[in-house]
């Protein structure tokens, strides 16, 4: 579904990505992990068609990505909410822009799900950092695309909310599988959610190692099998540091 072919990118002298080769199959959930600044966000922006790579190319559904496409959603690392819109209106933005029809009840459902029931009419600046991130997550889920690119969606959340939302994501994925590329700094989260975990080397980013997570779903944190895979990923991360 997504194929990175020798994708490299340089920002005015800074080599962010150096030759990424990676294939993500349809309905596969791939987690990307790597040091801060190794080019994970850049990778997602390239896949979303927001950035043209300096070299190489990305195919989505067999077609080269040259511009953003409606079937691909990108959840940004920062919440990127419109300050003049209420929480609800922010969540409904993709429905308006993509002409998805009436989605109010679904938006309410999603907000309830992430624990923001009752905040629908607030403006973004009245929310805490983690709450803003959850609004952004709802917006991304409302778009309901075939391919989801998620950039550290749970970074500002506490462990419990994180677990709840991971479970929710697994449930959604079970009911209606999507292709997901998911950036995270949490190895446990990566192993919990993903079919494969890609470890990138530090800047310039390169695929260092890919670890399969051959475990049945639903998975739950704290299981021994998960810890084992986690340890493998950590080892792989440790190598790239040295």
């Amino acid at each position: 579904m997504i194929a990175f072919q020798r994708v490299a990118h340089t920002f005015g002298g800074v080599r962010a990505l150096a030759g990424i080769d990676l294939e993500v199959a349809e309905h596969e959930f791939v987690a990307v992990i790597g040091r801060s600044g190794c080019g994970k966000s850049t990778l997602l922006r390239i896949a979303a068609g927001l950035l043209t790579p300096s070299r190489g190319r990305v195919l989505v559904a067999g077609e080269e990505v040259t511009a953003p496409c409606r079937d691909v959603s990108l959840m940004f690392q920062r919440p990127a909410l419109l300050p003049w819109r209420s929480v609800l209106a922010n969540v409904l933005l993709p429905a308006e822009v993509l002409g998805l029809g009436e989605q109010r009840s679904r938006a309410h459902e999603l907000l309830e799900l992430v624990g923001l029931g009752g905040f629908e009419e607030r403006l973004p600046h009245e929310l805490s950092g983690g709450m803003q991130q959850r609004v952004s997550l709802c917006r991304s889920l409302l778009q309901d695309p075939g391919v989801m690119l998620m950039d550290e969606p749970f970074s500002a959340l506490d462990a419990i909310t994180r677990t709840e939302l991971s479970e929710e994501l697994q449930r959604i994925q079970r009911e209606q599988p999507r292709t997901v590329l998911f950036v995270t700094h949490s190895v446990d989260e990566a192993v919990l959610l993903a079919d494969r975990v890609v470890v990138l080397s530090p800047r310039p980013g390169r695929v260092h190692e890919i670890t399969d997570v051959p475990l049945a779903r639903p998975r739950a944190l704290g299981r021994a099998e998960l810890d084992e895979v986690s340890r493998a990923v950590r080892a792989s991360l440790g190598e790239v540091t040295a």
Binding site: P79, P83, E96
Partner: protein, 249 residues
């Protein structure tokens, strides 16, 4: 308290003016004292208020037209670098033409009626509106633009659901500059050819050496400006509440 301060400011200035006319013995034909001006107003209150309405209406009509024309121009300029490069310099050039010098042309084409005044107002108002709207839309944060891009949003959506909203606080700066210019523009239009309006009063009284009447008319102009300006401020408070607190998200 809120209402007291502007009144205090006004009193301070009027007081300073009065003192100046007394202490420096400024000749009344140059700068009449506030008392003379008030006297002139009280001689013809009904007539002067009528003229005030005429000028206000011209200014408001021209201002509204400027918004209706200026905002789309800004959209075009922001939307297309080619259009910007081609026509921005011309807009700048147009703005640099002293309006009073092209006035005969305007009167010949638009007559002595309200048309020529409204055109004058548009000529002075449009530039601040275009430039502030364009600059406001341009300054939209990259992360929000990328959000819209990632949704494969059309240009229209990007402009009307994002950039225009983001620009609103800056558009209001342009509008506030324009509204005071609008009043001046209407007056200049009236200088050139009119049978009514405060500009007409000023040019008539100037010729008949009635300096305090001219100042009374100018004081009324100032009042009109201040009222229109604060009407915009109120509108801004209504329309742009999120920016009032100056928060960032």
């Amino acid at each position: 308290m809120k209402a007291v301060l502007p009144v205090l400011g006004l009193l301070a200035i009027v007081g300073a003016w009065w003192l100046a006319t007394i202490v420096f013995r400024v000749d009344p034909f140059l700068l009449p004292s506030p008392g003379d001006v008030a006297g002139s107003f009280l001689e013809l209150p009904g007539y002067l208020l009528e003229q005030t309405l005429v000028t206000s209406w011209e200014a408001v009509a021209g201002f509204a037209l400027s918004v209706v024309i200026g905002v789309p121009i800004a959209l075009l300029v922001v939307g297309s670098t080619v259009l910007e490069r081609m026509f921005y310099p011309l807009l700048v050039a147009l703005n640099a033409v002293p309006k009073i010098a092209v006035a005969p042309l305007v009167v010949v084409w638009f007559g002595f009626g309200i048309g020529s005044k409204v055109l004058m107002v548009v000529l002075v108002c449009i530039f601040p509106i275009v430039i502030s709207t364009a600059s406001g839309m341009r300054s939209t944060p990259n992360e929000l633009v990328e959000l819209f891009r990632s949704l494969a949003a059309s240009r229209a959506h990007e402009f009307f659901k994002l950039r225009l909203w983001h620009a609103l606080p800056q558009i209001f700066v342009g509008l506030k500059v324009s509204i005071t210019l609008a009043v001046v523009g209407a007056v200049i239009g009236e200088f050139v050819g009119a049978r009514a309006g405060l500009g007409y009063v000023i040019s008539t009284s100037g010729a008949s050496a009635d300096t305090s009447l001219a100042f009374a008319a100018m004081a009324l102009l100032a009042v009109v400006s201040v009222v229109l300006f604060y009407a915009l401020v109120l509108l801004e408070r209504k329309l742009v509440p999120w920016a009032e607190e100056r928060r960032v998200v």
